[in-house]
Symmetry: C2
Subunit: 508 residues, 2 copies
């Protein structure tokens, strides 16, 4: 259904300008720079050409069917322009322009009418007030973010365009690839539910990460998220979780963010992995993209220093995982390969003068040991440490059956090692705690995937009684339900409630 | 008292080798490379010279007084060697060698004897099993960490040498300066209490950061930490806070780490700022070193995008701070300077196309407004964003009266901005959440500094009764106290306890 949006063969851009820096201009420039192979049709009644491409004066004038229309006109012109696009048989429409729900009641009404119009034509609408979208497989940067990411298996859904650009910039720095990135803006039509379903079905997408401030429709979301999570990990940063945050959110995308507790329950039930901050979103995404799911939660720590090993052990226990106990045979075999001062417990301390071979010996032992489900490898830069060589050796001896996370701690000295790790598909973190936090997300998702089938228990409910109570309240314009009636509702659902009566006067 | 340790005019290194990579060799090399201006005396009976310096055959043979003796000999030779150093009137001794308490009972006994010997001569002993120490002011790198940091105002105390090297590497990457760095190792003599007192009195040190796995003496620590915190911030990462972490810690520095709750209470009482992970240690250190303390906890957020602003508002509220309400006059004055679409609330959204001038206008408003105690500035890389110029403009218009933290989110695009911020003394964080977490630490420390004077209430205690109960138990080798006697003790301290008697048989 979203093929015209993600894989258009032709793209019209309405509101192109010849001035670099203007959104309409930049989208065409980004399409060209990204290597988009389809037809690009700039629409501008005043300019003969833009960036070497001939302009169409009016979208309605085109004879051919256009897959995707991108609108970057002032908000007052958008409704008319959407009508034109629909007339030109657009397959999908993306409205970049702002000036809708986020500006107040008038903008909200305009937005509603545009959405209604698209829905009545069964044409999906992205936005308004968004950055656009990117599909690296299709070499399409249909956004005004100038960074075309390298292809990868992580897809991004975001209610904030700036989070998209920050993630793109971060992905470039960390050499992380992106499959698809969608900026949803005000979500007049397409929302997180639709996009989760689309990305769940997308073979390019292995991991979905999302930034949300509200959820358009709770039931649809839970259904879509459960379906998506059953196929691939869905990691969500939900902002607007506090009163202050909700207030901030409502002044920018025009929504009042929903209730924190309900979100928590919905996420847990639908297998969504929750990221608590911006870095976690990227941290978790990288791990899920690179490493297999663990069989359990027994973690082995390998380190060249006691302090960071202790920090990792603390973090593993705090996260509710288990500091694994090595099998006796593994331990004694490893004893032969490490110096006598090395500590062969958990953490395994390969000592400060460890060269790559000791890390390899410890990792091999961890991989063979049935009592180990996942491995955390820590390196601190000491006198004899060879970060790059160690990273390569770890990558070579990693069989890829158990998840491995790595924390090379420090700065310039360990950087060559970090680059090697990323190149080899090993997720690297700047601290033991962040490595362990990502691993926790992986462990919890693996457990959710293996959850027992859901039991549905049916019980009798006196639905009519509940409806009667609520209807009567609404009829008398009372929007709250007191203790007595609330208990009646609970009783109608089968809860056992102590008997009680309302005393309407004080005499005994 | 610690002058010979921190400012020695002469340093002898016992156990020097001519082989690079050997600890004794590297310490001499690091002293030379760091630019140490005092006399360096390598001690080696077999080699005539090391690194161009003539060797002394035996430390006892020297006629001059040696301020600092550094011992890097095998553990079996250390006791004898310490005796020689004391005979040579050493002012302080640092034992780098491992093979003491961390290896078991025999090593612990050896360590005890060395410490006793030094204490009987009133000569401070650092280590054993440590990295050494650094004093940038004295251009002294008396450690085997090859990175000599640039001078700065942050001093480091660590129970893990690897945390020192990781912090040094990180400091270099972030261009953070260091005043003094001390690796305490097994803390046979000098411990965190002694070093807190020394660094509290050190004019070069503005901020103290510490990594600890246990605390040698609770009472002394609370006294030292309270004294130090009253003068300058003390930030501590306490590892070994879980059973797994304690187990890990005990296998490496030979201590069983103490109880988490007691540490929490001790830290809170003594004004210690607690870092929960490795990055927080560096994050907080940078903020305390660079910015003033706030008057209160009302935070203003300035952002060029709604999403990160919402994340910051969430973080501020979760951290127990207040999302400030701008004064009406400030808001209307700012309204003149920002485009009409800008949101002048909190967050102040200067919009995605903001150039430096809008950030400057918002920061100036924040600085003038009495209702704002601290400022969080967020930048995301969007089409028109100029990170470096914006960073410079922020730095220029920052008056330095209120703390300012900055989060330039992304990677390569914002990096030039980050470098400008660090150069200008503005602490920069990769996410709003980390910026706000650091600010929270600053706010809490400022509140501790302004705490009301402690009230001491005296109340009568029947001390003899308590002593009698405990003595009787100990005499009969019972190490636990049951409910009845425990209540008697509480009653002796003046608690009102419900009357009760022990029923010794079941009849009524």
């Amino acid at each position: 259904m979203l093929t015209p949006l993600f894989y258009p063969e032709s793209i019209a851009v309405l509101g192109v300008s010849r001035t670099p820096g203007k959104v309409g201009h930049d989208i065409v420039a980004n399409l060209l720079a990204g290597g988009y192979a389809g037809r690009i049709i700039p629409v501008n009644p005043a300019a003969p050409e833009v960036l070497g491409l001939p302009c169409l004066a009016e979208i309605r004038k085109t004879k051919e069917k256009i897959d995707l229309c991108i609108i970057a006109l002032p908000s007052s012109m958008v409704l008319e322009s959407v009508r034109d696009c629909l007339e030109a048989r657009a397959g999908a429409i993306a409205v970049i322009s702002s000036g809708f729900k986020e500006t107040g009641a008038e903008g909200a009404e305009l937005q509603r009418r545009i959405a209604e119009l698209c829905q009545s034509h069964k044409v999906p609408l992205l936005g308004p007030n968004c950055l656009g979208l990117i599909n690296t497989e299709h070499r399409m940067n249909a956004s005004f973010a100038s960074r075309m990411p390298s292809p990868g298996c992580i897809s991004v859904i975001s209610q904030s365009g700036a989070i998209c650009t920050a993630l793109l910039d971060l992905a470039a720095a960390r050499h992380t690839g992106i499959a698809k990135m969608v900026s949803m803006g005000n979500k007049a039509d397409l929302n997180e539910g639709d996009l989760l379903i689309a990305l769940a079905a997308d073979p390019q997408t292995k991991v979905i990460i999302a930034y949300l401030e509200d959820i358009a429709c709770g039931d649809e979301f839970v259904k879509a998220a459960t379906e998506a999570s059953s196929k691939k990990p869905v990691i969500i940063l939900k902002a607007g979780t506090t009163v202050a945050g909700q207030k901030a959110a409502s002044s920018h995308t025009g929504v009042l963010a929903g209730e924190e507790i309900a979100y928590g329950a919905a996420f847990m039930r639908s297998g969504v992995i929750r990221a608590d901050n911006f870095e976690a979103l990227a941290d978790y995404g990288a791990l899920f993209a690179m490493q297999p799911l663990p069989k359990g939660k027994r973690v082995l720590i390998i380190t060249n220093a006691g302090g960071p090993g202790t920090m990792a052990a603390d973090a593993v226990e705090k996260a509710g995982m288990i500091v694994a106990t090595l099998d006796r045979n593994t331990a004694s075999a490893l004893r032969q390969k490490l110096p006598s001062a090395a500590s062969i417990g958990n953490p395994i301390d390969v000592l400060g003068d460890a060269e790559p071979d000791r890390y390899v010996a410890a990792l091999e032992a961890a991989q063979e040991d049935e009592a180990v489900d996942a491995v955390v490898i820590i390196l601190t830069p000491q006198a004899m440490t060879k970060p790059a060589e160690t990273a390569r050796a770890i990558a070579r001896s990693n069989k890829g059956e158990k998840p491995v996370v790595v924390a090379f701690m420090g700065g310039a000295d360990v950087m060559p090692g970090r680059d090697e790790l990323v190149a080899a598909g090993l997720p690297d973190y700047p601290s033991p705690e962040r490595a362990v936090a990502a691993l926790q997300a992986l462990v919890e998702y693996a457990a959710w995937r293996k959850r027992p089938p859901r039991m549905v228990a049916r019980f009798p409910v006196n639905r009519r009684r509940v409806e009667r109570i609520i209807t009567r309240r609404l009829r008398t314009n009372r929007l709250q339900i007191g203790e007595v009636k609330a208990k009646s509702i609970l009783a109608a659902y089968g809860f056992q409630i102590p008997q009680g009566y309302l005393a309407t006067n004080g005499s005994t």
